[in-house]
Amino acid sequence: MSLHPLTALTAACCAAVVTTAAGSWPLSVAVALAAALLAARAGVAARVLTAAGVILGPLFLSLLVLHGLFFPEGHTVLAQWGPARITAEGLDFALELGSRTAASVLLLLLFSFTVSVPDLVTALAARRVPPQFSFVLASTLTLVPAMAGRLEKIRRAQEARGLVVERGLLSRLAAARLQAVPLVLGLVEDAGARAQALDARGFGTPGPRTSYRQLQDPPAQRILRAAALLLAAAAVVLRLVTAWPAAVPA
């Protein structure tokens, strides 16, 4: 049985919300591991982990340096050099926030790397999300791969006309300008042509739409979505209620 795109989206978002609300690092690490395992089962582990590594690597390092060395609120000092103090509270804070972010990032990447964009757009249209949103979403996601090829073509064309990138900043800025202007111009021109084509097909007019694609939405998945939403809402309410007296100064 394949997952409806909205079921996958709801599951990923609700898991991320529950992890954030719980704010306990063992749960965050478990969720992150589960997301990685699911990615491996779906055959996208390499892509998900690479993307997550690029995002999380600098963040982890930055958190470790920031909270590991400088945490004025910490009391348990483990080591000290001048103004820098390693405190147990600081390391704890870095671990807490780092693992929480890692869990959410892995969950959402798992969703975005496994979802079929046409299915997602169909599902959104059936939910009366404005068609403009679906258009921008689908159009951007298809434009991204095309862009690399387009930039490469422009670079080659400019090199054929004598573009040589030298070491100086001015030369590199000039090279960036020579590539950026044709790219922007071409894209804006294309957009104008696309606007006319879309308008001619009634894109801007209000009213109901029908879709060529049909998606199966089994009742079991509807129940699953409702349960996930309830669980996430309960987790958020629980966290807000328990933290309220301490978090708001009298």
């Binding site: 954030t20 609300a21 704010g23 306990s24 995002i55 600098p58 963040l59 390092l61 930055s62 340096v65 920031l66 909270h67 060395l69 400088f70 945490f71 807490e96 926030l97 972010t101 959410s104 990032v105 959402l108 990447l109 975005s112 404005p130 403009q132 949103f133 921008v136 979403l137 951007t140 434009l143 930039l151 900043l169 590199r172 960036a176 300008r177 950026a180 202007v181 790219l183 922007v184 111009l185 894209l187 804006v188 957009a191 104008g192 606007a195 006319q196 879309l198 308008d199 001619a200 894109f203 801007g204 007019t205 209000p206 958020v236 966290r239 807000l240 933290a243 301490a246 978090a247 100064p249």
Partner: protein
């Protein structure tokens, strides 16, 4: 290239929907402002009390709700000619950011497309592009999603600056960018502090560390870091967007009603599209 849609507008439904959209816009802006004020007021107690789950949930919920309300207010009324520019702007945010990154300048420069569309199509289009860009880009990097409200603010303020004529003189564009950077940096700081506990870059992280070493709270340290990096970054972004807008042929830029109506760019409209 005409701006007019080729089909007849549905006048009745638009007129009734206008006050509702205005309400949505106000509610969205109010949600973002209220979230910011609440976080600034509650933060000193929070950080000492263990994990910032409470503030993270408030920050995520409030800012995302505001961004989605703004999007719901603006998106359905944008003309198709603006709408088709939005994917272009979102992709440009990333591609031009990378291209400028290859010049070795130490800035993120990730809003060039948003500012460009705000200059061509106005504040509403700029704000919607900021939010949508964050949503779409979170498919590749989920950590940009919480910053949607800040991106909307950048697009909105860039559009206001364009409407006020600040892009008519090349020396006003960086000034407008600088002021935008101050506001956007301050609004985005609670997200960096409460949701991520710091900044992703090592350079910015070092600046935050320096302020923390002086005993600042996390939010104060990140806000000060944002006040150092963001105005400079946005001044450059606005300058690049202005240079691009002037590098484009006037036949292209003057086809946008916003550019013609508010005389956003210096120079006269080309005679063939002036009618």
């Amino acid at each position: 290239m005409s701006q007019q849609p080729l089909t007849l507008p549905d006048a009745g439904s638009r007129a009734g929907a206008a006050p509702r959209r205005r309400m949505l816009e106000i509610a969205g802006a109010a949600a973002i402002a209220a979230t910011y004020v609440f976080l600034v007021l509650t933060q000193p107690v929070e950080i000492a009390n263990g994990p910032a789950s409470f503030s993270a949930l408030v920050a995520l919920g409030g800012f995302l709700l505001g961004a989605v309300l703004l999007l719901a207010a603006v998106l359905p009324v944008l003309p198709t000619s603006t709408l088709v520019l939005m994917p272009v702007a979102i992709v440009l945010n990333v591609v031009l950011g990378q291209l400028m990154g290859s010049t070795g300048l130490p800035f993120y420069l990730d809003a060039i497309g948003t500012v460009l569309i705000a200059v061509l199509a106005g504040p509403a289009a700029g704000a919607a592009t900021g939010v949508l860009g964050s949503i779409v880009w979170s498919f590749f990097n989920p950590t940009v999603l919480p910053f949607a409200a800040g991106a909307a603010l950048i697009g909105f303020l860039a559009g206001l600056a364009a409407r006020a004529g600040l892009f008519r003189r090349f020396y006003f564009a960086p000034v407008a960018g600088f002021l935008t950077g101050i506001l956007a940096g301050v609004v985005s700081a609670p997200i960096a502090a409460f949701v991520f506990g710091g900044t992703a870059g090592l350079g910015t992280g070092a600046i935050v560390s320096a302020f923390r070493a002086m005993g600042d709270t996390l939010l104060a340290a990140i806000t000060k870091q944002a006040l150092i990096s963001d105005p400079m970054d946005k001044a450059i972004v606005f300058t690049i967007a202005a240079l691009l807008a002037y590098a484009l042929p006037r036949r292209t830029t003057f086809q946008y009603a916003f550019v013609r109506r508010f005389r956003v760019l210096a120079g006269k409209a080309p005679s063939d599209s002036a009618a």
